[in-house]
Amino acid sequence: MLERGPVAVSQPVLSATELQRFEDEALQYTPSLYGAALRMTRSPADAEDLVQETYLRAFRSWHQFEQGTNLKAWLFRILTNLYITSYRRKQREPAMVSTADSEDFDLYASLAHQSEATSSRSAESIVLESLVDEDVKQALTDLPEQFRIAILLADVEGFSYREIADMLDIPIGTVMSRLHRGRKALQKALMGLAAERGLLAGEGKRGS
């Protein structure tokens, strides 16, 4: 760890009032943190542990939180770091969707092809909308970790490039490139799923 001033060396004694304030402000983010933790760890048990540990660490460092700054981003930073430093090691990356060949995937072109087949402009957004939540979540969960986390933080949670770069301690350009590649891979995976589910016009069984 970095050198710290004497303040951080002794464990701060937290009062019941501070606990109350922390709970009032921080606990509202449990659904977001738990959702992200599920996507990261792929396991409800690990996700629960990760979120619990995140709150414990956050509370212990509560005195370091700058009031008025983005509390959700601060909590996500703790969650993400904790996941990367401790939980990730426990996990084997499963057989992943290959992303090497998704670089050139073009969702717009694929959907344009669809809308020609159905002669309906609105088909463009509806095709992927027809996928059930579980399919969409699973496709995100199956992405390689770097892409998965970038999309979680940017698209799902709406953090800025700068916030994500700070959380992951990587350059903004890397954030952008992971996002870009991750989105393409996810789009390709979802279109693949849509085809499997018979949601695409002119392929397989058609939803009547």
């Binding site: 977001s32 738990y34 599920l38 979540k137 799902v156 949670e157 989105r183």
Partner: protein, 85 residues
Amino acid sequence: VGREHQEGHDDCSELIANLFLFLDGELGESTCADLKEHLHRCHGCLERFGVERAFKDLIQRRCSQEPVPAVLIERIRLTLRSQVL
């Protein structure tokens, strides 16, 4: 990228490069105005933008937040309480 241009705009690919920045709210004000102006004029780019926005929106709606098990909230509260004198 540029095969849908109707009026022979030569600025499509340049502006489209900014499309993701725009979508992510990361585009500076003046470039933002240029892009909006272009989307106004160019149907192909507007459609592409619509598709990417619909996708981002889909991921956001379908993957954000999860119902938190009551037992987890309880565990968190207990853990936090153990830190207080």
